[in-house]
Symmetry: C2
Subunit: 169 residues, 2 copies
């Protein structure tokens, strides 16, 4: 099976960085619960600046348990990492470097940076954005994140952890 | 129709740069005819160095007539630019910058950088490499370049110019 995995919000823990940077800037440590249902920039007004700051994407934490589970997936399936990175040109090299650092078993042949994911042909897409999943031809899993917490199109399986993904496959 | 266009050897004239750099390094101006059927590094021994030199991809000439014909295609079809750029991380930002400079009507949403093109879902792929075309599910056109001149899998329509592509569509 060919599996396409999103980076931000699936492999990379973007919210962990938002929380840290927001606390630095405003002195308030927000909980994930307090921003459920809000868009990223609603929960963190400086988010548009953070994602355009050099080093942001290179310094993201890895989502809990992602390395171990992606490694297993990669041994059993055809895995591609598909990131909508084109919007932030600065992020291209940082994302590639981040992948090499944390997921060295994923080769450059398995990485795709795009603007739109509608051109991606795979059997399963795991992503945290409805805009990527809704038009996808194939199985879909919605990785739970605060920005998608209060929405449900009923068309995607919502998953809360990498362990849950492995159990479902 | 969704059309995927390769960059190097289709939109960008890589050989024009090879010829220029080879003349600079060896004092000999090679003709395209003299290297027909040779791999790029056979015709130009320093090619592996050239493509890893900062500025190489940003300074490539545009393939004759490409801008005008891609502009027309883009008005009638769903066009994506799909470049196997992942092998040369330095090239990512240069390729994006090159596209913005020469094809400003192509938005970031239409650009894909990948390692392998087998994950690309489109109706037509125009590319100069058999390795990209052979596994593609859909119509294919082989853009004539010296390295593919003496091979023919019989599976792809060989095209010699952007004018010819437009006539065929």
């Amino acid at each position: 099976m060919r599996i396409a995995l999103d980076m931000d919000g699936v492999l990379a823990d973007v919210y962990a960085s938002y929380i840290q940077l927001h606390e630095r800037d405003f002195g308030i440590r927000k909980s994930l619960e307090s921003i459920e249902g809000l868009e990223e920039w609603e929960g963190f007004p400086n988010a548009p600046t953070y994602v355009r700051t050099p080093g942001f994407f290179e310094n993201l934490q890895v989502m809990p348990d992602a390395i171990e589970h992606v490694k297993n997936l990669n041994e059993q399936h055809e895995v591609f990492i598909v990131s909508a990175a084109m919007e932030f040109p600065l992020s291209l090299n940082e994302k590639l470097s981040w992948m090499n650092q944390h997921f060295p078993f994923i080769t450059w042949k398995q990485i795709v940076f795009c603007g739109s994911k509608k051109i991606i042909h795979a059997d399963l897409l795991i992503d945290d954005h409805f805009k990527n999943l809704d038009d996808f031809q194939g199985r879909t899993m919605l990785f739970h994140q605060p920005h998608n917490a209060r929405k449900d199109s009923g068309r995607h399986i919502r998953v809360h952890s990498w362990e849950q993904i492995s159990q479902l496959l």
